[in-house]
């Protein structure tokens, strides 16, 4: 297994070809770094990207632009936003057109060594100068970047070949700039035909630093006409007054400007001493177009009304760096471009207003303008703050440093600057201004055509101006040391070459005589930047003459093995230079900076160096991590890695040498061959790769380092799957919650299944897995629902993993077979695991999970239970369910010593214990029954002996119940799995009522027990019903009492329908207030062996209902004054064929004194 390298060879070849091509066409971009393009830039195809390369637009993470398309996207976005406060950076040279733009009495385009004539309006180039010949092609036209208010850092990269034209008023790379541009090279640009034309057409409150511009700037060949009317206030002139025109109104009118003032007047008056005639109350006069403040004088009171200033101008601006600048700063800026304008032209700034600061800058370009012009500034106008030009010079055209300074008071200072080409005035015209000159040098003493200065221009020779010592000591053009020094001494920026004017450290070397060549790279001066060039193979360098006319006498080299260039001090301290004889190779990976010290035959010594070379022949270190599993190599022999939960795959890549450029990945479900790998649509890796669906995955990762080495690694098969916990059942209830509680005597069932193909190897074994210890005695039942076999196991150790093979066939003990593992293909498994805590020492267990898994012979888990199907269980001690008993009975109580029937509704229900986490389920209820225990107790709660309960019967659902020997009547009601409601009938009879009157109660208590009667414990409160005594028992008197019937009513027939049963009461006449009450009872069961009768409602069967005493007890006879006879008109048809008992009770008022019962049957 190894890291896979991908296409390194052909890629390097492509690089080689491209670099050579680029090197041929692009003029040397040698500068401090002095190299050709470090990365191949593809010529822009005119397209617009959809996003920036990267970044968030912050200072630490700027938006990155790496191609012409992304630069065009930047332009497109500027149509929507001005990016105020936003940061941008280039990460590569931008190649917008590959040909070379030039101007030779017309715009030209040289492509592949052939020159063509370019139409600046259309971008077409032709083979004839009149642009009517054969159209060879069309250059890529780039749109101006408008209204940018952010920060643009070129990172010392070059925008090459920008062709900008259009119909806009302002044509340039930037227009209306209010931001900052730093470290930018714009080379081989062609900017055409604007009214304001330049690298930056207009800028306000902007700063340009370390900007080098070269190309062709052609302003519109016709003047722009601007016209404007400005209304002024009315003036009452009595003597003199000043008319003020707001300067802001006049700005932008550059070129030849014309001002007129018109309005109403009373009399003639003077403006700046000039007589103005008031004709017919009106006047109109021209004004000094350069002024905005006019003195008005009148000998009489003169009302000057409806004053209007008309301003017009004709002209346009063409400049190298900034066309029209308001409050701008240029530092370390170089113009090398050819500028051709009509009315205002300059090398650096065309028109500057309000405030201007130029330092450490110079113009090398030719400025060809018909109108006003200056090498550094064309026109300084209306300054309102201190402005300066210092440590700057002109080495371009003979047009002076500054064209005009107008209306700027004494705000402008020019110091330590010079013009080495102009023979004329260094400042052409100064109006209404005083310019401060201090250390300004020129070939002539002429400083200005007209105007006022403080200080003079010092005449000096070219030789002196090219003297390093002179420039350093007198003009303070401080020498560049290194970048670190420049960071603190920002004026130490000048590089000196003998015989040449100093150049900025960001500019190109003028006359190298030695070159250091390495592959397609070439350096010819000393640099201190740590920019790196990456090589994916060994390198070799050579030291060559740079100039045939200035050969090297001898040369030496020093290889610094460092990622940082040496400081100048360190370079000066090198004492181990090696004489160079021949090409030197470097084959070992590492960081290198090559230093060359060379001497020419004049004894000149020069030290040059390379950039930081990174020889990185190997790819990156890549690691794919999934939990504890890690992959770092490419493999075609894939194992399986099982996961049972959602997972995240993380990728890390390091490359200590060239660094990681891209990390990409691809997720598939199968192994890929080489062809497939070559054609993958890789995704950029930005965050961990989520696996959140069941399935099989193989993840490929490709890492490209900055040396373009590619490393591909991959994972094994990642198999997300496992057993599914389908359901958990407690007490016949399927648990829906992810976590739940059970009482410690419960048991529960887990059902697991797996339905997919799997090959079981020899040694693979299934296990029941707990995440917590379960107590000894826990009974496990394993049901194999496929093979229909059942096994059992009793936990007897602390092991959390219990192999299925530990389970023995249920009921057959260890002498019979245990669970047998199978090998081979198995497509489906289904197991139920019952965990029974009922025989354990009732533990408490928190957050218990039960799962099953498969492990190989090395105990490595190859399949587990999918985590998100698991449920968490807590086992709670002392939390068995109990039963509750409710009743809505509101009667007076049980009448102990009379015949009575009392109905008591009972509701029994199971009540699970709850805690703060919710319900605690109790599976033991499945094997329990609910019941009630009925006791007759006295006021002290003492149970009454059963011998005193002979007259009391309890009946539920037709069944009679009697007390046990302990006086408690226990009645099983039903399964505890559901609530139940019953009616308890309490029947009492007067006979056998042996208890003396007192305070007694019937106590009904719920029971939850295995038989519903014994052994159960209920925590529910009982129901207490008072037991009351009828007064009859208090009286021991008895009376003779007889009922005689007219006929034998013992057998009655339904078919007889309504019959009249006639009776006569024979009783002791000493009874006063006597009344006879009658009740009807019906035989409960159709058998000879159960002689119980139950009270029914006699009135239901009487044609003439009787008056009720109480429920189902009626007055048969109350008024004996009318006789002792009474009749019961009964509808026999309503009666069921059954046995009955009619009961007559004689009462003395409310005291019963006798009772007679007669049985009969109805057929």
């Amino acid at each position: 297994m190894e890291k896979r390298r991908f296409g390194k060879i052909w890629l390097c070849a492509a690089i080689l070809v491209s670099v050579c091509l680029v090197a041929k066409l692009i003029p040397s971009m040698a500068r401090v770094k002095n190299r050709v393009a470090t990365e191949i830039s593809t010529v822009w195809d005119g397209s617009v990207a959809n996003s920036y390369r990267s970044g968030k637009g912050t200072k630490s993470d700027p938006y990155i632009i790496a191609t012409g398309s992304e630069l065009a996207y930047f332009g497109k976005m500027l149509e929507i936003t001005n990016y105020s406060g936003t940061y941008f950076a280039l990460s590569n040279d931008i190649l917008l057109n590959e040909g070379i733009f030039s101007y030779d009495d017309g715009l030209k385009y040289t492509l592949n060594k052939s020159s063509f004539y370019l139409d600046s309006k259309t971008g077409n180039f032709y083979d004839t100068s009149d642009l009517s010949g054969v159209k060879i092609g069309t250059v890529n036209s780039f749109k101006t970047l408008k209204n940018f208010k952010g920060h643009f850092d070129g990172k010392s990269y070059t925008i090459y070949g920008a062709f900008i034209n259009g119909e806009n008023d302002e044509i340039g790379l930037f227009s209306n700039l209010e931001g900052n541009i730093t470290d930018l090279y714009v080379t081989n640009a062609s900017i055409n035909e604007g009214n304001v034309t330049g690298l930056v057409t207009s800028a306000k409150n902007a700063t340009l630093t370390n900007v080098v511009f070269n190309g062709v700037v052609i302003g519109k060949n016709e003047d722009r006409v601007l016209d404007k009317s400005i209304m002024l206030d009315d003036y009452i002139v009595d003597g003199s007054a000043n008319i003020l025109v707001d300067d802001a109104e006049l700005r932008g009118f550059y070129g030849v400007r014309n001002l007129t003032l018109s309005g109403k007047c009373d009399a003639d008056f003077l403006i700046d001493g000039e007589n103005i005639s008031c004709v017919s109350g009106q006047f109109e006069t021209g004004l000094n177009p350069l002024k905005s403040n006019f003195e008005v004088a009148s000998s009489v009171i003169n009302n000057l009304l409806e004053l209007k200033v008309n301003v017009s101008s004709v002209g346009n601006i063409a400049a190298g760096i900034v066309g029209y600048g308001e409050n701008i700063t240029l530092k370390n800026v170089v113009n090398k471009a050819f500028v051709k304008g009509n009315s205002e032209g300059a090398g650096l700034v065309g028109v500057a207003v309000n405030k201007l600061v130029i330092s450490n800058s110079y113009n090398n370009g030719n400025v060809d303008t018909l109108g006003n012009h200056g090498a550094l500034v064309g026109r300084v106008y209306s300054l309102s703050a201190l402005s300066s030009i210092n440590n700057s010079y002109n080495d371009g055209d003979d047009i002076g440093l500054v064209g005009m300074v107008v209306g700027s008071q004494d705000y402008l200072s020019i110091t330590n600057s010079f013009d080495i080409v102009s023979n004329g005035n260094l400042i052409r015209d100064i109006q209404e201004s005083v310019v401060n000159l201090n250390g300004v040098y020129g070939l002539q003493t002429n400083k200005y055509l007209d105007g006022v200065t403080t200080g003079n221009v010092v005449k000096i020779s070219k030789a002196q101006l090219m003297s390093r010592d002179y420039l350093i000591n007198n003009l303070h053009f401080s020498e560049f040391v290194d970048l670190e020094d420049t960071a603190t001494n920002s004026n130490n920026v000048w590089i000196y070459e003998d015989g040449y004017l100093p150049i900025l450290y960001v500019d190109d070397i003028k006359n190298p005589f030695v070159t250091l060549n390495l592959g397609n790279y070439s350096w010819n001066n000393l640099g201190f930047d740590d920019k790196k060039i990456n090589f994916s193979s060994s390198v070799a360098f050579a030291i060559n003459d740079a100039n045939d006319t200035r050969p090297i006498k001898e040369s030496y080299y020093y290889i610094s093995k460092s990622a940082q260039p040496l400081t100048k001090t360190q370079i000066d301290a090198i004492d181990t230079w090696t004489k160079y004889d021949n090409i030197v190779s470097i084959s070992e990976d590492g960081f290198y900076v090559l230093y060359v010290k060379a001497y020419d035959y004049d004894g000149n010594e020069v030290i040059i160096n390379s950039d930081v070379l990174v020889v990185d022949t190997f790819g990156s270190d890549v690691l794919i991590t999934l939990g504890e599993r890690k992959w770092s190599l490419f493999s075609e022999d894939l194992d399986s890695a099982f996961i049972d939960d959602n997972a995240k795959v993380e990728v890390s890549a390091t490359d200590d040498l060239s660094g990681v450029k891209y990390v990409q990945y691809y997720v598939t479900d199968a192994k890929l061959n080489n062809d497939e790998l070559d054609n993958l649509n890789w995704s950029n890796y930005e965050e961990a790769i989520s696996i959140d669906k069941l399935g099989t995955y193989v993840i490929y990762v490709r890492v490209t380092d900055n040396a373009l080495n590619e490393t591909i690694i991959n994972t094994d098969y990642i198999i997300y799957g496992g057993y599914t916990l389908n359901k958990v059942v407690v007490a016949s209830e399927e648990i829906a919650d992810a976590s739940f509680q059970i009482s410690s005597g419960s048991k529960l069932e887990y059902n697991f299944s797996y339905q997919d193909h799997h090959y079981f190897d020899d040694g693979d074994h299934h296990n029941v897995v707990f995440n917590r210890n379960v107590p000894n005695g826990t009974k496990l039942i394993l049901m194999d629902n496929i093979s229909k076999k059942v096994y059992s196991y009793i936990v007897s150790s602390d092991s959390l993993v219990i192999p299925f093979t530990s389970f023995s066939v249920l009921g057959k003990g260890n002498m019979y077979k245990n669970f047998q593992e199978k090998t081979g293909d198995i497509d489906k498994e289904d197991y139920t695991v019952v965990v029974d805590f009922s025989d354990t020492i009732k533990p408490s267990i928190s957050d218990l999970t039960v799962s099953i898994d498969v492990r190989d012979k090395n105990a490595y888990v190859s399949r587990s239970t999918i985590k998100n199907t698991l449920k968490t269980l807590s086992v709670i001690e002392n939390a068995d369910a109990n039963v509750t008993l409710r009743s809505t009975y509101v009667g007076d109580g049980i009448k102990y010593n009379v015949d009575s029937l009392e109905l008591i509704d009972l509701s029994l229900g199971l009540q699970n214990v709850t805690n703060e986490f919710g319900i605690i389920r109790d599976s033991s209820i499945l094997s329990k029954q609910m019941g009630i225990a009925i006791k007759l107790v006295n006021k002290d709660g003492v149970t009454i002996d059963k011998s005193n309960m002979r007259n009391i019967e309890f009946k539920i659902d037709g069944e009679y119940y009697s007390p046990d020997s302990d006086g408690v009547t226990r009645i099983k009601i039903g399964d505890a799995s559901a609530s139940v409601s019953k009616t308890l009938m309490v029947l009492t009879s007067a006979s056998n009522a042996t208890l003396s009157a007192g305070e007694y109660y019937l106590s009904v208590t719920p029971i939850l027990a295995y038989d519903g009667m014994y052994g159960g414990i209920s925590t529910s409160e009982n129901i207490v019903i008072p037991v009351i005594f009828d007064n009859a028992l208090d009286n021991n008197e008895t009376y003779s009492f007889k009922i005689e019937s007219e006929s034998d009513y013992r057998v009655l027939y339904k078919k007889d329908g309504v019959v009249s049963l006639n009776y006569e009461v024979i009783s002791d006449n000493s009874i006063k207030n006597s009344n006879v009450r009658v009740m009807l009872y019906k035989k409960d069961k159709l058998t000879a062996y159960d002689q119980k009768y139950s009270l029914i409602d006699l009135n239901d069967y009487l044609v003439n209902p009787l008056n009720a005493v109480t429920a189902n007890v009626y007055y048969a006879l109350t008024d004996f004054s009318s006789g002792n006879k009474f009749s019961l008109n009964i509808d026999l048809a309503r009666l069921e064929a059954n046995g009955y008992e009619i009961v007559f009770a004689l009462y003395d008022d409310s005291k019963k004194v006798g009772m007679i019962k007669e049985k009969f049957i109805v057929r």
Partner: protein, 179 residues
């Protein structure tokens, strides 16, 4: 022959058509030698009857009563001219714990013990049907029976006092048609 006192007369003459053992509807206009459809009768206490009510009201625990009766195919001196099968049916509420046994004279064991293993009808009567008995037509036949009703001694509790019940004996006869 002098008619005997009849008590509670009716006859159930349910005759059915069927294959095999067939029964035919017996009508007065059929080959009956008499208009009286009563064919087989009880002869109880010298009375011919189809049904009688067994007098059991004075039965007390540890007592029994026996009632003798006959079943005849002759009525008023007239026989049937068909072969008969007859069935004796005992109905009772059985609210008294009586043991009711039916004996055929000449057969040692009771041919029927009417107890609560039999089912009840919609009138809650316990219905005990004996097996079918055959009676040929070609001569006068009289079968002698004895009904024994016993009140067991163990049912001597108060709850068994003053109970009311009945035992009703009836007979049903069917013409038997030979194939």
């Amino acid at each position: 022959m002098k008619s005997k006192i009849l008590v509670g007369l009716f006859i159930a003459a349910a005759i059915l058509f069927s294959t095999g053992l067939t029964y035919s509807i017996f009508t007065s206009s059929a080959t009956m030698s008499t208009n009286n459809q009563k064919i087989a009768k009880f002869i109880f206490n010298a009375e011919q009857t189809d049904e009688f009510l067994v007098p059991i009201n004075d039965l007390v625990p540890n007592t029994f009563k026996e009632f003798e009766f006959q079943v005849s195919n002759n009525s008023n001196g007239q026989n049937t001219n068909v072969n008969l099968n007859y069935q004796i049916t005992i109905k009772t509420f059985h609210f008294m714990p009586l043991v009711i046994e039916l004996y055929k004279v000449g057969v040692e064991d009771a041919i029927m013990v009417c107890d609560e293993s039999y089912t009840r009808n919609t009138d809650n009567e316990l219905v005990c049907n004996s097996s079918y008995q055959e009676m040929r037509y070609d001569k006068e036949v009289i079968d002698d029976y004895k009904l024994k009703v016993t009140f067991p001694s163990e049912y001597n509790g108060d709850e068994y006092a003053s109970l009311v019940d009945y035992i009703d004996l009836s007979i049903a006869s069917f013409q038997k048609v030979d194939k």
